[in-house]
Structure formats: C-alpha cells, structure tokens
C-alpha cells in the first residue's frame, strides 16, 4: 500500500515543487498541467528513438523548459494576463503533442512499444521517487540558502521592493518558470516512462492537484511533500473502495476532492483558532 501511494504521488510532488518556485516568485502557474503533458510526451518520444530512459527523462525536462519559456516570455514580456496565458499553455500542450505525434508516429493516439526499456528501480521503488525526495531536499536548500532563493522569495513577497534593491524580477520569475517547466516535465516523465506509454491527456488533472498541494502544503517543500502523500492516500482509498463497496463510481470519484476540501477546512479552522 505504501509503495502504491508513493508511486502515485511522485509525478505530483515533482510538478508541485516546480509550481512552488513560481508561486514563491509571485507567479500563479496554472500551466503545470500542460508542462507535465509535454514532459510525458517528450519522455516517450526520445526514449523510443534513443532507447535510453535517461535521455528520455532529460528530454522531458527540456520540453517542459521550452514550453515554460514560451509561456513566460509572453506573460512577462508582453505583460499578458497570466491566467489566460496559462490556459493557453495547457491547450497548446494538448495541441502540439497531438500534432507532433501525428507527424512522427502517424497516430494521434497512444504511443507505446512492447520493447520499451523498463525503468531503473532500487528495490521496490523506481528512480523517480528518489528524484522527488532529492528534489524536495534540494528545493529546501535552494530556497533558503542561495542567492536565487532569496531573490525569488523577495520578488514574490514584494516585487517593487525587490526591484528597488536591484533584483531583476523579470529574470527571477523567468528562471522560476523554467525550473517549474523542468520539474513538471520530470513529473510528466515519471508518469509516462513508468507506464511505458504516452496517452493523450494522460496527466488528467494532476497539474491542478499539484497546484492545490502547493497551497495546502503552505508553500513549503516538506509541507508539499506531506500534502502530496495525503492526497495520494485519499486517491488510493477511493480506488480501493471501488472494489470493496457498491457505491456508484461517480460518487467515489468525488471522494478525493471532498477529502482534500475537508482537510483544508479543518486546517484553516485550526489556523484561525490559533490566531485568536
């Protein structure tokens, strides 16, 4: 069970950590979903051609970075509304992956091959889990101990003060977007490489869940990690419940949302009570 939950949660942790960087930099990144999707696609595409999951993984990060760059360039340079460009980035990811896949593979559908190299595993755990744990620790370090981390937080808290202090918010926010692209791309790779296949739309809302995890995790890497585990636990419970009870599946599908919401309400209630 623990293994299953950890497996379910890795892609979301990676994407949420990516989103944390933009969130701390004061950028509402709703494009996590699209960034994951291009990562998932690139991972399969490149692994398919090179036969190496490592190259595929790197390709996924690069694909995430590329989309993040387009998204960031338009949003930050042209000062377009980040919410709409974020929706745009998600649509773009869907369109471009289908388009490329029809050019390259002659199908807009599922991409897979039987000889797909399997992922490296250590014991029962696949490498992405270690990547997620490592990323969490590195994120804590970057945020608290590096020049970039300090400038990132400063920009997010108050961009105008940071600007006066000589911090170039454009470059900081752009970097944070690129990092979120890389990490979300990895999250996408964790999803598709483990499956050995790319399915259009396979991220299925995980980018949004990652965004929720950032807020529920109080914008702290460790908090996010724990939140992701809890969310995956809720999902696991709902999956298992389908086999145990005769509850209509639609109601069970609503469960993870309700559990998360309840958790959030309890959390804010406790917070408010402590404040008083």
């Amino acid at each position: 069970m623990g293994n299953a939950i950890l497996d379910m949660t890795t892609p979301i942790i990676l994407a949420a950590l990516g989103g944390l960087f933009t969130e701390l930099g004061g950028v509402l990144n709703i494009a996590l979903e699209g960034l994951m999707l291009v990562g998932a696609f690139a991972a399969i595409l490149i692994t398919e051609f090179t036969g190496s999951t490592l190259l595929g993984t790197m390709g996924a990060a690069l694909a995430g970075i590329s989309l993040a760059y387009i998204f960031g360039f338009i949003t930050l340079r042209f000062r377009a509304n980040i919410f709409i460009t974020g929706l745009g980035a998600n649509l773009f990811a869907l369109g471009i992956t289908n388009y490329l896949s029809s050019i390259i593979f002659g199908t807009k559908g599922v991409i897979h091959s039987p000889e797909f190299p399997s992922l490296l595993r250590i014991g029962n755990y696949n490498l992405f889990l270690f990547a997620a744990i490592l990323s969490t620790i590195i994120t804590v370090f970057i945020i608290n101990k590096t020049v970039f981390g300090l400038r990132l937080r400063a920009t997010g808290y108050n961009a105008s003060v940071s600007l006066v202090r000589g911090v170039d918010s454009y470059s900081i926010q752009m970097k944070s977007l690129l990092i979120s692209g890389a990490l979300s791309g990895l999250g996408g790779a964790a999803l598709s490489l483990r499956l050995g296949a790319y399915v259009p739309n396979m991220t299925a809302g995980r980018g949004w869940i990652a965004l929720v995890a950032i807020y529920l995790g109080r914008k702290h890497p460790i908090g996010i990690f724990i939140t992701c585990l809890i969310l995956a636990g809720a999902e696991y419970f709902s999956n298992a419940a389908q086999g145990m009870f005769t509850i209509p599946s639609d109601i069970l599908l609503a469960f993870p949302y309700l559990i998360t919401l309840t958790g959030m309400i309890i959390f804010s209630f406790i917070n408010r009570t402590l404040e008083k």
């Binding site: 400063a154 940071s162 006066v164």
Partner: protein
Amino acid sequence: MDTPLLEMHGIAKTFHKNSVKAVDGANLIVGQSEIHIIIGENGAGKSTLMHILSGEVFPDSGKIIFNNREGIPGTPSEALGEGIGMLHQHIKLIPELTVLENIILGAEPSGGYGIINRKEAIKKLNRLSVKYDLSAEPDKLVSTLNSDEKQKTALLSILFQDIKLLILDEPTTFFSELKTDSVYKLIRKLKSIGKSVVIITHKLKEAAAIGDFITVMRGGKTILTLKASETDPHRLSNIIFGDEKNLSPVRSGSIFGNPLLELKNLLFIKNGKEILDISLTVREGEIVVVTGIRESGLETLEKLLSGEYKASAGIIMYKTAELSGRTELRKRKAGYIPSDRIKTGTSTESSIAENMILLNYKSFSKSGIFRAGSIKKFAYTLIKKYGITGVPGQIMSTLSGGNIQRVMISREIEANPELLIVAEPSRGLDIKSKSLIYNKIFNLKNKGSGILIISSDIEESLRIADRLIILYDGKVAYSGDGKGIDRSALGKIMLGYDR
C-alpha cells in the same frame, strides 16, 4: 577642482496617466563628497527627479553623466550597479524576510555556485554596524521589528551595497525627530569617506544645517542652486513658499465641554511585555496631543484606537458608551487620519470622488443607487476648498503625494466629526499643506469637536496642544497644558531623563 560625480541635464518626464509634467527640464550637478539638498514644495518634482536617477522612472528626455559615464539607468539594478542607491520615504523592506536577508538582498555575498556566504555577510554587516553605529539582529524577522529597528535595517541595506551616491528621501520624516542628530552624523560620516549624499526635503532648517549645496525646485524645474553657507533661510523660504510667517498656525482660546473620549488605564501587552499603559481624556473643544519618540508607544496607541489591536485591559469610553473589545470609534463616526496615508487612508486605484465619499456614501444614494450629480458637486466643493489639483473622476494614484493627502484630510474634516484622531499630521507635508490642515483642525475645534493628535513632531506638539501628554517607554511621563516647557525640556522628558 575635480569633475563632478553627477551631472543631470534637461531631464523631463510626463506621466501619461494624467499628462502632468512632473519634471520639466531639470538640471543638477553634484560633486564628489558633497551633501546636496533638493528642496521644494510637495509636488515640485523632487521625488520624480531622484527616481529617474535611481532607475525607477525612465525620463522622456535628458542626459545623465555619472562617474564620467553617460547613460540613463533603465532599472534600479543598473543604478545600483553604478553606485547609486536610494532610501525611500516609505520604508521599503520585506516583512516576511529576516533582517539579514533584507540587508543583503541585491548584494548577496556568494560563496560560489550561487550559495549565500552567510559568514561573509555577517562579517560585512558587523563591520558596517560598527562603522556607522547602527546595530542589527540578523536573524529576526522584519515583521517583528519596531520602527526604529526597521529604519536601521533599511539604512544598512543601502550601505551594504557599495554605493558612491546615496539619495535620502525626507530623512527626518523617515527618522524620528530626536534621531535627527544621529542621521546628520551618519550623513557627515558618509561624506568624510568620500561618498556623496543627495537629500530631498521640504524642511529649511535641515537644508541649512547639513547641506553643502541647496537646489530649489518648483513646478518640475530646478530654479537655482546655492551654497548652503551663503544662504539666508528667510530669503530661501520666500523663494520656495512665499512668506512663511503668515502660514504659521496660532493657538486659539479654549472653552472645554464634556468628555468625548476617555481611555481608562488602557493596557496593551504583547508577548508578556507591557507595550502601553495610558489614561487620557479628550473633551469637546480640546486638542490633546500625545507625543514621544517613535518606540514610546505612539504606534500602539494608534492601532488600539483604530481597532487593529485589541486592548489587553482597561476601558475606552466614547461619550457615555463603553466600547468593549476592539474599539468601534469609526463606526461611531469619529474622524481618523491614519499615519499610513497610502495603504490605509486611501484607495489608490479608485477615483478622487470615490475616496471622498467614503464616510457618508450612503447619503449620496437613493434606494441603494448613487446620485452621480450630488457626488460630483460634493467632490468639486472639496477640491476647491482644499486646493486639490485634479477632477472628481481622476484615479488617486495619478496624483502627487501632497494631493493624495489633501483628499484624505478633506474627507475626514468635512464630515464634521465630533472626535477627530490625527496621527502624524505633518508627516510628508509642505508648509502650505500643513497650515491648511492646522487651520481646518482649529475650525473644527472651534465648532466644539475634540481632537486627539498622535505626533512625534516636538514643535508641532508644543505649539498646538491644549493638553500635552508625553509617553516614555509606553507610560505617561508628562501630562499637562505644556506651559513652561521648552523644546529642550521636552526632549529630556521624551528620552526619559526627567522622571
């Protein structure tokens, strides 16, 4: 003579939002190790000119030569890179970060790979602390600091960057009155090690006291530059403001009525520490001034009265009603001019008219819908009465700082409150605006309203108070009519010598 450190020629800037020429062909020359004062009325263009120098505003035209290099800084980061740093009138710190993080931001000592070298940072900070006599606790969160500590942190943050020219915007507004001396000391110290300082102020005395040169600005133009030692303050005053004497407020005779506001043993305790313990009464027709140095509890008193803080013990009486819990003075139509004019006192993205009707907006409506005509009329009346440059529909953020304040003051005073609470009445105001606000306050007093002023400006306090209360360390150190107390005696009480 050496070449000057800074030359600015023909600088002009029009803000598109309201097409007002903020700076209109200004010139400025600042030498090496020179203290240069820029003086002028609110809205004369001083701040804009300096914001252009610090890279925050990009001019429409003009030429800047700094340190023998010509060019215009595109961003504050570029200006800082060249050695130009600015300390703003409103403290620009990030409360969620620690003191050290705030200080090193933008000039972080790096230990390679982009990792902050904390040891090096602390070492440099300690060196600066000793050199300029400014202490700091590096790991404290800025949100937990008192205003004095915040000022030190802000100053250190500028000094931490290696600058050649420091711009100070209204330093004595920024620092409490009695800290002025230490500010002067600091400025002279900077000069002595070869740095230049440009100070924006509208205070004549300040200009004369420490400046080497004084440049006067009016209507966006630099009208003349003088050597400070050769300047006669009265002549200068006439150049800037016209005749100062006529503008000075006069205390009027007083008949006091019933108590309006009574604070009975009002106590505020934070983290087990007693921050404030005060009793006072404001009667009809009375001006009560509470003064003290910054950390003496003035801010806490304001926050208790505004309802932001909840009193730990004691009673607040408004007329005959006892207000429990958080004060609801505002709901009882008490007037209140907060010390934080911008964030609290105005809605900067709303129009002048919308800001003006805040206190009685419902009276401009019929069954929930506004009558546009009467709002417009009201706004025009206030604009005229308070000499505001603008039209009712104009967005506040396009106004100059002085005009923003006038809008707020007009609103509070025109509501004819029975009780008016004013925090730091003269902060950031030029003499004209100041005298306007005093005249309005005296009018109100003469109509029988009670007025409570919370001010760290000593002279102002002495001049206008019917009753003077001096706080020291959160406690009342003096309470009386203020007669027979001169400036130096007052200073001693404020610093706790005369207890």
